[in-house]
Amino acid sequence: MILLARGEMPDSPTTASPEVKRPISVNARSLLLLAVLVCAIPFLAGSYVQFVCLLALINIIVTTGVNISMGYCGLVSVGHAGFVAIGAYVTTLLMTYSSLSFAPAMLCGIVAAGIAGVVIGLPALRLSPLYIAMVTFGFGQAVNLILLNWIEVTGGPNGMAVPVPTFFGNDLSNTGIFLMTAVACFGSLWVAFNISRSRLGRAFIAIRESEIAAQSMGVPIALYKTVAFAVSAMFGGLAGSLYALGSGYVNPDAFIFLISIMYVTMCVAGGLGTIAGPVVGAIILTILPELLRPFAEYKEFLSGLILLGFLVLMPRGLVPLLTSWKSRLMPKLARQPAPESV
């Protein structure tokens, strides 16, 4: 498990929060404990809870990716399920039709999604944010239609079964897939955290806030927008390949527009532009439908209301709200000198 250096792991800056936001002093110990606990889930929980947790981890990877392009760089992506689909299908196709084992197949899935991210990013370089939304919207639809109609290769609407991944000969059990997903999820968060604390993250935020200022500080706008798209697409590809392995079956219905909107809802509800925001959003909005399952008639209605409610009432999302409450509720504690930052 990746050990964080001792010291504070403050959230990256939130979007335009007027009042002072103390970084939350979360030391590595509690993070380590969390990691161990997540990895214990497959041994404690039944296959249903394990599958829901797996979905949550996969959604965290996607929302962390969406957060990089949308939360930091301000590039709206309402077609992210397209990247997830590419990751899932490329991995499945390679594992089925070629002798590649799951690891290289996953890698190709991630790279393919990244390439798609760059291609979709191209028009975005010269267009206003609204056009980017349109391009990503069109991209999501196009990927779904291609998967639906390229029957000879993708099996069309019936989809494809994913061959069981083998790890040095013996089959990779559900637990193995779960642990791999957990490692991938923590790895993604680690990379996202590093990006947010590095010049890459600052350049992204600069592009979002004012392209002219960013450019005059030496940030090549076109290149960094493409990087933002590619990175968030690769996160999507990684999540897609893990979804393929985890669920054992892929078909186009799992990557429709509604799913892209759900990813965005998770980011907005959790808190765009923070590290923990998309995580909290992904967990809540993966578990909520499961808890609401018995009265499902209203699920679509409820998820629409949730997105609208957050957008209008809490645009900055849960995490920034809780951090500001926390700093207001416990002024003494929050003011104690945090150890020198990482």
């Binding site: 709206v76 010269r126 609204l130 391009v135 291609i146 909107i261 209605f301 609208l308 957008l311 209008v312």
Partner: protein, 288 residues
Amino acid sequence: MLGQLVVSSLALGSIYALTALGFAIIYRASDVVNFAQGEMMMLGAMAALLLYRDLHLSYPVAFGCAVLISMAVAIVVERVAFRPLLHAPHFTVLLSTVAIAQVIRSGVRAFYGQELSSFPPAWSDAPIEVYGVRFTLLGVGIIATTALTLIIFLVLFARTNMGWAMRATAQNMRGAAIVGVSVPRVYSQTWAIAGGLAAVGGILLAPLIIITPDMGVIGNKGFIAAILGGFNSLGGAVMGGFILALMENLIGVYISSAFKDVIIFGCLIVVLLARPTGLWGTQKLKRV
């Protein structure tokens, strides 16, 4: 054959044009892409169905009332989903229209149930053949009504005081406010007109297809037409509607009907790369 394709694309083209126009006027006035445009069409069609088929009102009366209902809903949507987010980043508003679309769709489905119903056509749909090209009175009726609607809109937009205020706000919100234009009122008028256009499109579309809570998906076509034609040019958006319908027919027949949407998306990307503002759109100069 080609003649038949062109003629048969006119009816659907005019419906795409109405939707695209609805997108374009909201975008021009407030830089917002209204993803709930399709759902407003669906509401218009549902209201007309209720009035015309169930309450047996005459077609024009049902048509008018349904348009008014949709305009009212559009004003409410503007008030709930758009006004509070006036100063929020673009994508927040865009997402709120998506959320509203989802709420409307699932709300109507919960109320309306699973039933799929057909809308009795106002004009006969018996095919007529002239010089080897077949069309129906229904098609002619749709094109005529669309033309009438566009003319009314043009008069409203160009000649009246409200139209002037809308154009002023589109150019520069603060400038318009300074000279006394009540910008919030302009926004609700703009959304009301967009709602009205959507309703007209929805009601004209209804006899061609089956009315379900999910028929709002046609809004996506209007969206693509608006991008193709040029989002901030009203004439462009209307033209975009007809071009898209024609392209769908041509690609559908001569290339492949299954992949026609994918090919159209490809053309869209090429158009955006060549002219980032669509065929007739104009670039807003960004001042440093």
